[in-house]
Structures are given as C-alpha cells and as structure tokens.
C-alpha cells in the first residue's frame, strides 16, 4: 500500500465519522518495501493540493522518514518532486496494521492489501 493512499484513508467505523482523531490512521509493526515507478510530475502536481501535509508528516515520522519539510512546498523543483515521488508512490507498506486514533480499531495489512471489512455492528 502506497503512502499516498494512507493520506486519504480514514477510519470506516460509524462513530469515527467527523471525529478529527480518526484521521490519519497510524501504522503499527509496518514492513516497508520500495518499488521503482516511473515519475509522473503532472500527477504529483495534481494531487499535491489535496494532500493533508500535517497528516503526511505524521505518517512519515511514524515510519522513520524525518527529511520531510514541515510546510507544504510551494513551488516544486526537480529534487522535491523526486523526493515526493519516492515517498508517496514508491514506498509501500507490505505488512502491518493501521490503527484508528479515535476508536483503536486495527486494520490488518497483508501483502500490501489493507482489510477494511467491518463487522456489521460497527458500520
């Protein structure tokens, strides 16, 4: 699962809707992998305005990436673009858990696929 995806995922439990603590989900026991992908500058430019930067910084810190600037970069030079691409697209979480900060529900990640199926009483 790409880091980009985790920046959009929120807890699916009903009581966590509109709770600020339900986003972002926190990683637990994450195993990382890197997959080389072609850089797509237009795509990065397109998604950047919709990326929640504080959440991304938090996720990155949890995974041990501390080189991220504290503010969203205003103008993208080639190096920032490459760094963002490496972090958002190429870095993937293969195994581990995503934990909701509000209700504590744990979503398992296996082979890069997160399990978001909920028991019916939580929906």
């Amino acid at each position: 699962m790409k880091i980009l995806t985790t920046n959009y995922l929120a807890c699916a439990v009903k009581t966590c809707k509109s709770e600020p603590a339900a986003f972002p989900l926190h990683f637990k026991d994450a195993e990382l992998a890197r997959e080389e992908l072609e850089l797509n500058p237009e795509f990065i430019k397109n998604v950047l305005p919709r990326i929640d930067w504080p959440a991304l910084a938090q996720t990155a810190a949890e995974l041990g990436f501390t080189t991220l600037p504290s503010q969203k970069p205003e103008n993208l030079d080639e190096q920032t673009m490459k760094d963002l691409h490496t972090l958002l697209m190429e870095t993937q979480v293969m195994e581990g858990k995503l934990v909701c900060g509000n209700c504590g529900y744990e979503y398992n990640i296996k082979e890069g696929i997160a399990n978001f199926l909920l028991p019916n009483h939580l929906v």
Binding site: Y8, A12, G112, N120, V123
Partner: protein
C-alpha cells in the same frame, strides 16, 4: 444470462477458481476493457488523475487506467479476486472492502471514480440485518463525499430489471449527485448501462448540465426526462385534470370507469 448475484454473495461467489476463470476469459477481458474505455471517455479527465475503482476485481479495468497514466486505488470484497490481482502485479493500490459499508476515504480524495459491473451486487442483501436500500445509500453517500467538487463518477452496471435500475439511480440522486444515464446498444442482449454522476457544480462543471458529459460523443441521443410531466400540468382544464388522473390510475392497474361525455361534468340540480 445467468446472474451470479442471485446465487451467492460476491465474496463467496468469486472464489479462487471463479476469480481465475473470470480473469483469464478473453471474452470478459475484451468486454471489461471496452467498458472501461467508455467510462474514461465519459469522465474526460484533463490529465493524470487519482481514480477510485469500485469493485476492481483482478485489476482488468485498472490496466486500462494505467495505460492512460492515471493512478488508481481499487476496492473489492473478494479476497480471491485481489489475490489474482496481486499475481498479475497490478500497479494500483488494493483494498479489501465492502462498498455497501461505505467508502473509507476522507472527503474530496479523488478526481473521479469508475466501477465496471459491480454496483448491481448492492441490490442483494446477504444477511437479515442489512437492506439493499441501506447499503446503496451508504455507498453513494460515501462516494459523494470522497470525490472532489467538480469531479465525476461513471458506474457501469447490469440491473436485473427496471426496479433495480430505479433503485440505484434514486439512491444516487438522493446522495446529492447530478445523475444521467447512458445506454449503449439499447434493446439488445448486450445493452450496457452507464450511470454518469457529477459532484457539485463548481470547478470544471460550473454552470454546466449533466447532459454535457455526453455532448459531442458519436451516436448518442439525449433524452431529458427531468421536465417530463411538469409542463403538461400548466394551463390544463378541469376535464383534462380528471382524465390525467384516470389515466394514471389505469396505468397502475386500478379499476377506473370508462370515459364518456359526462366525464368531469358538474352535477347540476335538475329542476
């Protein structure tokens, strides 16, 4: 045509053998790819975008999205289908999730959403504590929130009958979408239905109508049903009103007195 929805729930129906059969069938591959192309044509995205693929299965539609340089995130309820997708090394991110439980993304995440042959599964409730209406409304509400303002969603689906088609479109409109329907090859066995949904009126779509999504496409006739019936009511006489109501009841199958020259006349005092 047999309907898999009527046999088993999707997570059980698409087991390892069924998932492999589905993915390796060249006929299904061809149909899926042509429908995904059509969906993208309807979306008319300006550049590389982030797309949600609902019911992505083994990533057949995702491959097409890749070829257009889009990045996609797929969700599916069948673990076997996702297993096949892993084996085929699709580039999109995969999520094991039930669309009837909502869309687990924060508001305004996606540029667009596509779905190929999946939404009709929502019309079946597999357990007694859920209803199709409830699952449909949760799905569409979640979808509405997760797409950015001015974004679009195109859902291709196979409704079993008119009631299902009505139920799905009504749920989409209720969630706030602007909705239109495109039917390819209508009246044939191969009829394909695309539900085109728009979110909000800002952005690329400001001041535009849902019918603009298909404007300029070849061989498409626009049938606007939104104003049908409303115009008729203006300036009708009392007699026309009675006749219209009688007609409506007749269509419903009620027993209605046949029309005569006395229909809708006043009962005057005779002497």
């Amino acid at each position: 045509m047999s309907r898999p929805e009527d046999t088993l729930p999707p997570d059980l129906f698409y087991n390892d053998t069924e998932a492999l059969k589905y993915t390796t069938s060249s006929r299904i591959q061809a149909i899926q790819s042509s429908m995904t192309h059509r969906c993208l044509e309807l979306l008319s995205l300006p550049g590389p975008s982030l797309i949600l693929d609902i019911g992505c299965g083994s990533g057949l539609s995702g491959e097409i999205l890749d070829s257009y340089n889009h990045t996609w995130i797929g969700m599916d309820i069948s673990p076997s289908m996702l297993g096949v997708a892993l084996d085929r090394e699709t580039t999109g991110d995969l999520l094991l999730a039930d669309m009837g439980q909502g869309i687990p993304f924060r508001a305004g995440s996606f540029d667009a959403a596509v779905s190929v042959s999946a939404v009709q599964w929502l019309c079946n409730a597999e357990t007694s504590d859920v209803t199709p209406q409830g699952r449909l409304s949760r799905f569409f509400e979640g979808l509405y929130a997760s797409i950015k303002r001015g974004g679009k969603a195109v859902l291709q689906f196979y409704p079993k009958n008119d009631a299902q088609r009505q139920m799905i479109t009504a749920a989409a409109v209720k969630a706030g979408f602007g909705a239109g329907m495109l039917e390819d090859d209508p009246g044939t066995k191969n009829a394909k239905l695309y539900l085109v949904l728009t979110v909000g009126s800002g952005g690329d779509l400001s001041g535009r109508d849902i019918t603009d999504a298909v404007k300029g496409m070849e061989g498409v006739d626009i049938v606007d049903e939104r104003r049908r019936g409303i115009e008729k009511k203006r300036g009708e006489t009392a007699k026309e009103w009675v006749k219209r109501k009688k007609d409506r009841d007749r269509k419903k199958g009620k027993i209605v007195k046949s029309d005569s020259k006395y229909t809708a006349r006043k009962r005057r005092i005779q002497f």
